[in-house]
Subunit: 258 residues, 2 copies
């Protein structure tokens, strides 16, 4: 690599053909050399799944100076691993994932393939950001968030993030003039009030569709859920340690031999 | 439910036929009424994937007073949702997941279907524990860990865990007399030194197997990695907030309109 430009690896979970991926590619091509490695089919809800029991394939779709594009038969996390190990043969300066078609705010991060790709990169010590737009439709408009995406990526490229951290960025689905700016927030607490929708097939057997409602249990104004409801782009810094430190002491009695 | 016994929902990620699941069922049947809902095929490495684009099916395999067993076509997280929504039609007193065939210590939690099931339950406010044995083989011996599993489950049943927390328990693959006891620990930091193993198919096309080495970057003695290497059963309390609080202030400048 003779270029002095930063090397940016792009992936997503909606697959190589998603409009949100194209919008993110538009932004990062202005900011560095770009390698795209994305799943060849939608991988929404795949979380941090990795493919260990079947072989992975990667296919070059396009290559020109400073830009190349690959699809693979894996998950978002696999895409990061393939991008680093097979295409780049090293680490990128930045991994960006998205723009997801739909929210990944609050605890929904746990289900998110978009954020798993960012977390996968962060595990390996690479700066990473996941972007999501709060619009599930195929016709979602990714334009109005672009200036914010550009700003956030530029800052991370110039200043970096601490080791093993990444950013979870969610963008309200609103015209640019209605977006109020950026809020740096904590993850909102909440849960899914799950309804499995029961149906009956032509053979009279039941089947179920997952169809729940997200319930926020946070009423404070420092969460991503609040920021998004109030028309801000939310930026949540994420770290990879899930230890409940406050429980280490209360659980010590488990160590007793009794 | 007229029984005064606790209701325990059991799942795993290795599937309904796994020896580790059978070992866990053995333990919990002594401690309460038990509902098993497990994937009908192995779901290892599925992390917190959920099934939203295809319908879910659940099949009753066995039922007797105080014990029932179901398989489903979903992931470990789906199994918890189906168990709560379709079978129990409410919440269990405890969700246990495992015993996984292989380690889920440190950051490997992110890839783990076993721990995703526990986290899924914890999101819904239910006490939950994931168990893993450090032996990937089908012939793994799950006997020696059973007294520890019984002790940990009994304590959680009697004392509970704080809202939205769960436990990640890993067990060395050793004879009982070589296990030194329980250590309550934090998640060890580490990363995968990924090697994609390249092979060539009969048609001369390359394919890749994921085959990395886990590298611990933690030399301290308060981690699960240390405990396991020193023949202790590790118990890591897990919480669901990944916010990097120390970065909220340094990132505030992103909120500036410039």
């Amino acid at each position: 690599m003779t270029s002095q430009k930063p090397l940016i690896l792009v992936t997503n979970d909606d697959g190589i053909h998603a409009a949100g991926l194209r919008a993110l590619i538009d932004v990062v091509r202005e900011l560095g050399d770009v390698v795209v490695v994305a799943p060849d089919k939608p991988q929404s809800g795949m979380s941090h799944a990795v493919t260990t029991s079947s072989p992975l394939r990667i296919r070059k779709i396009h290559e020109e100076p400073g830009y190349s594009e690959y699809s693979c038969n894996g998950t978002p996390a696999d895409s990061v691993k393939l991008g680093e190990n097979i295409v780049i043969k090293g680490k990128a300066d930045l991994v960006v994932s998205g723009i997801n078609h739909g929210s990944n705010s609050g605890i929904n991060l746990f289900y998110s393939g978009t954020m798993a790709a960012a977390i996968e990169a962060a595990m390996g010590g690479v700066n990473a950001i996941g972007f999501s737009l709060l619009d599930y439709s195929l016709q979602a408009d990714f334009e109005s968030g672009k200036p914010y995406i550009r700003k956030i990526i530029s800052r991370v490229l110039s200043e970096g993030l601490p080791l093993n951290t990444c950013l979870n960025v969610n963008i309200p689905s609103l015209p640019f003039q209605e977006l109020k700016g950026i809020k740096v927030c904590r993850m909102g607490k909440g849960f899914w009030d799950e309804e499995m929708e029961e149906r009956t097939d032509p053979h009279n057997h039941p089947y179920y569709w997952l169809a729940g409602n997200f319930v926020s249990r946070d009423i404070q104004t420092d969460t991503d859920e609040w920021a998004l409801a109030n028309h801000y782009v939310s930026v949540v810094p994420i770290q990879l340690d899930l230890t409940a430190y406050s429980l280490l002491e209360p659980l010590k009695h488990l160590e007793n031999h009794d």
